[in-house]
């Protein structure tokens, strides 16, 4: 085979030799070396947890703008990324670009980011009073994720129901077996979604809503998949979901035939992902170029592409797209507090597991009995409300969940690869045992009341 390869290499070697010889003869040698080094560093190393579909669009667009630059992509989920960055990774990466608000907050506190220079006129700092970018400028919002209900219009219609509009709509007994509800301890976006309901409805009412919706859910082997394909296929009618499965312009809109639909409930929130530059970035100039690029209007436009389906953070992009049915910066939605989510995430996940998932089969039978009693008008409305309250109350009150010590006890510990997870403390195990017993007692009480309704009606 002919050798088309060696020619450019020979040219390069020749050029380098000539330049090197010239460099040794003139004081410009140092300048040459510096230029050579800068050329070799036309690379930016980016750590992310974004899906490849999104990453490669931005990677290719950046490389199109800077044809001799290369984007090297490293990927880790948030806990893994935090462990990596703390054990020296900040010196190996230039840019951290991901939806992991806790990591950004912690890494900033630890002084691991360089301050950014941002176009603050184009990039709103907050949504409804909630900051989305770091007020001190160490990291910036890159895109927004909203939370709501994905549903199959045809499947919902077959159940004789109107399209869902709010979380509570999914508690209708007509949805039995037809709803999907991601479990906070198992699906990445679920903790934020659960927290939006908790903050939107208040602690007690939110748990009652979760319990009632859970009666329509088949947790089966555990809902670990973030996808909407069972809803799209019509096996399920609706799913509590993050919004990026649906094209932005089709959210909150009337769906076309056969199309998956998505609605934002009135009290929902838009949670930002972030981008920041490592204080130890090996390629700081390219890092800045990359951050400037992903926050630029052309790149933010790319967020709306069908393969990406995210919400931009620039006002001018929304202004250029009047067809968008979702406009996070214009609404007066929930003043969502993600710090509160991070603070009690472990507690909520444990409670969800013990109060909702573990007793699900037993609770479902009782919800079915209650549903029957409602339909047949058995017992007084007050008695049925009492049963509903027993089924929808969790063992931790609103006041109790505010206890910092309790939250710390259930906080997810930071982990290290290769080191086993620490077993739960005896104190935590004792509390969990108490919760389980309390749940059992409440279900038993509900059962007794339902049986009483049953026996009265047969008399």
């Amino acid at each position: 085979m002919t050798d088309p390869i060696d020619r450019p290499r020979r040219r390069l070697v020749g050029t380098l030799l000539l330049a090197g010889a010239a460099g040794s003869l003139v004081p410009g040698c140092a300048l040459f070396a510096a230029k050579k080094s800068a050329m070799a560093e036309r690379r930016v190393v980016v750590l992310t947890s974004y899906a490849e579909e999104l990453v490669q669009r931005f990677q290719q667009a950046f490389e199109q703008k800077y044809p001799d630059a290369r984007v090297e992509v490293l990927w880790r989920h948030s806990a893994d990324a935090l462990a990596y960055l703390r054990r020296g990774g900040m010196a190996e990466i230039d840019v951290y670009w991901t939806p992991a608000p806790r990591n950004f907050a912690l890494l900033k506190q630890e002084g691991r980011f360089a301050r950014l220079t941002l176009d603050r006129a184009a990039l709103p700092p907050a949504i409804g009073g909630t900051a989305i970018s770091d007020p001190d400028g160490y990291y910036a919002a890159f895109e927004l994720a909203g939370y709501g209900i994905a549903y199959n219009p045809e499947a919902v219609r077959k159940l004789g129901l109107p399209p869902p509009r709010d979380w509570g709509d999914l508690a209708d007994p007509a949805y039995r077996g037809k709803v999907q509800m991601p479990i906070p301890g198992r699906v990445g976006f679920a903790p934020v979604m659960a927290e939006i309901v908790l903050q939107g409805e208040g602690w007690d009412k939110a748990w009652a809503t979760f319990s009632a919706i859970a009666a329509n859910v088949d947790f089966g082997s555990g809902d670990r998949s973030p996808d909407t394909d069972e809803v799209a296929a019509g096996h399920k009618a609706a799913r509590m979901s993050i919004d990026f499965f649906i094209t932005p312009s089709r959210r909150n809109a009337d769906p076309a035939a056969g199309e998956l639909a998505f609605v934002y409930p009135p009290k929902t929130a838009f949670n930002p992902s972030h981008v920041g530059i490592s204080a130890q970035a090996p390629h700081p100039e390219m890092a800045k170029a990359f951050v400037d690029f992903v926050l630029s209007a052309p790149a933010q436009e790319m967020l709306l592409e069908p393969a990406v389906r995210r919400l931009p953070v620039r006002r001018d992009v929304y202004a250029a797209h009047p067809e968008l049915t979702v406009r996070p910066f214009d609404g007066d939605g929930l003043a969502y507090d993600d710090e509160l989510r991070r603070d009690r995430q472990g507690l909520v996940a444990a409670l969800f597991d013990i109060a909702i998932v573990q007793p699900h089969v037993e609770a479902l039978a009782l919800w079915n009995d209650l549903d029957r009693a409602d339909r047949e008008g058995r017992g007084s409305a007050a008695r049925r409300a009492e049963i509903r309250a027993l089924l929808g109350t969790v063992p931790v009150s609103d006041e109790a969940q505010r206890d910092e010590k309790l939250r710390r006890l259930f906080a997810f510990p930071d982990r290290e690869p290769g080191k086993p997870e620490l077993p739960p403390s005896p104190e935590r195990l004792a509390i969990e045992a108490r919760w389980k017993a309390e749940v059992k007692d409440r279900l038993a009480a509900a059962r007794r009341l339902l049986q009483a309704l049953q026996s009265k009606s047969t008399l």
Partner: protein
């Protein structure tokens, strides 16, 4: 000559007596039997990711989901809190299957020499064969150039690039088509120059659906096609490749890859995991670190990585996901597409791009058995002439031979990949279907000439038909 004359007669007849049917290619067999799906208008972008859940036993759904999740996964460098998805590197090209197969579709070639290869790779070898008759890896760089090394001291091997050369073709009606072909170059080679007698082959990533159905086509049927082609005596004589099956430890029929150099879907996936991402498996359990690459070899001890990095069960689930991906049915075309279908056969294209095959027994996933499918391939190697030759043998495939690539789904590439974001033929040189046809040489020369001599309307009709696939 006979074929050309037939084409002219047929084309003339079509022009004089245009078909009376209107705007519909007649209903035909679903493209993938029970593993087919109708692509709804507006859903073309996800045409290659559809899973026909109702054709899959429900007890396998979780495994399919797991396989899909791993196929979509961007892999992580060890050590990691998630060892199940860790093992990227020490050297690699891209971190995810979808990097090269966006939307489960096709890769493409960089537009200029300055740009990086994002969804293709360059195979390397030197004269001779390995222990199993396959290509002999280049001693410093192995059998494929990996651009990236993991942070912390493992250098990437270097970067390959393509310098495009123009070539003008003039069709019989005077239309000029500017084709391009690549010269492969290398820069930033970390371990010195390539061995004197090295061979290269640029390979664009092909779509990943339909592999199970093709694996289920009985070997006897494929060999019968080869015999029939030879017996016809019109210059087309497909040849099977025989390659090493690492699982069964024997030489078997090759079915996948540009030179049919992989025998099974599972081994194809394991090969891509190892070659493109550096992930070891039960089929390829050792990291690809040529002796010259000391930092690569030292990674094992440094990171504590365990091999194989993907479990057998996870590799099985990825295989299952590839088995079940549905084939997009051909869309209904207009009158031109109906004419184009006839022209496709008349030009001789269908001899190699066999429209219909049948699957046989398939114990690995019995649901794929007994399906009539429309892949437009014979799974055989054909001499495609000096224009397409890469000069690099691969098992029994010589330097000029390529496996007939399936054409199912080819009309959806603009929607799945985006216009201009994919390349046809092994090195992505063809930017559209006409360019791909015009590069056919060797056994494909007669068909190419038939197309070259078509009128503009006939060519449009042929391309309209291909766009329905």
């Amino acid at each position: 000559m006979r074929v050309t004359a037939c084409v002219f007669l047929f084309a003339a007849a079509l022009l004089i007596f245009p078909p009376r049917i209107h705007a519909q290619v007649p209903a035909q067999t679903p493209a993938g039997g029970a593993f087919s799906h109708t692509v709804e208008a507006g859903a073309e972008r996800s045409a290659f990711t559809h899973i026909p859940w109702d054709s899959i036993p429900a007890d396998l759904w979780d495994k399919v989901r797991n396989g899909r999740s791993l196929t979509r996964q961007t892999w992580v460098i060890s050590p990691s809190l998630e060892p199940r998805i860790a093992g990227l590197g020490p050297t690699y090209n891209r971190p995810s299957c979808l990097s090269c197969h966006p939307g489960n579709g096709r890769g493409g070639a960089p537009a200029t020499a300055a740009r990086a290869m994002h969804s293709m790779l360059v195979r390397l070898s030197v004269p001779g064969t390995d222990a199993h008759g396959g290509p002999k890896p280049e001693p410093r760089y192995g059998d494929q150039l990996n651009e990236f090394g993991i942070p912390g001291g493992v250098p990437g091997e270097g970067e390959a690039f393509l310098e495009w050369q123009p070539r003008k073709e003039v069709l019989a009606d005077g239309q000029e088509v500017i084709l391009r072909w690549p010269k492969i170059g290398f820069r930033k080679l970390a371990f010195g120059p390539l061995t004197e007698a090295y061979m290269t082959s640029a390979r664009v990533a092909p779509p990943i659906f339909g592999l199970g159905l093709l694996e289920a086509v009985p070997e006897a049927d494929i060999l019968a096609l080869a015999r029939a082609q030879r017996a016809a005596g019109d210059g087309i004589a497909g040849q099977p490749n025989y390659v090493w099956d690492a699982g069964r430890k024997q030489e078997v029929l090759g079915r996948f890859g540009w030179k049919a150099n992989q025998p099974t879907t599972r081994q194809q996936i394991a090969g891509a995991l190892a070659g493109d991402m550096g992930i070891t498996s039960d089929i390829l359990p050792e990291p690809n670190c040529p002796p010259a690459q000391a930092a690569c070899a030292a990674t094992r001890e440094k990171t504590g990585e365990k091999h194989p990095e993907i479990s057998s069960a996870d590799l099985d689930d990825m295989t299952l996901y590839h088995y079940v991906l549905a084939i997009p049915d051909a869309r209904r075309g207009d009158d031109a597409a109906v004419r184009g279908k006839a022209l496709f056969s008349a030009a001789g294209c269908a001899t190699c791009h066999q429209p219909e095959l049948k699957t046989g027994a398939f114990p690995a996933f019995p649901a794929l058995a007994g399906q009539t499918i429309r892949p437009y391939t014979d799974l055989l190697l054909h001499d495609m002439g000096p224009e397409l030759a890469d000069g690099r043998p691969d098992y029994r495939a010589n330097a000029r031979q390529w496996r007939t690539p399936p054409l199912w789904g080819i009309g959806l590439l603009d929607a799945v990949n985006g216009s201009g974001r994919y390349g046809l033929l092994h090195d992505g040189r063809a930017r559209n279907l006409l360019e791909a046809i015009l590069w056919h040489g060797g056994e494909g020369e007669k068909a190419r000439e038939a197309v070259r001599k078509m009128s503009a309307k006939e060519r449009e009709a042929l391309l309209a038909f291909l766009k329905t696939l």
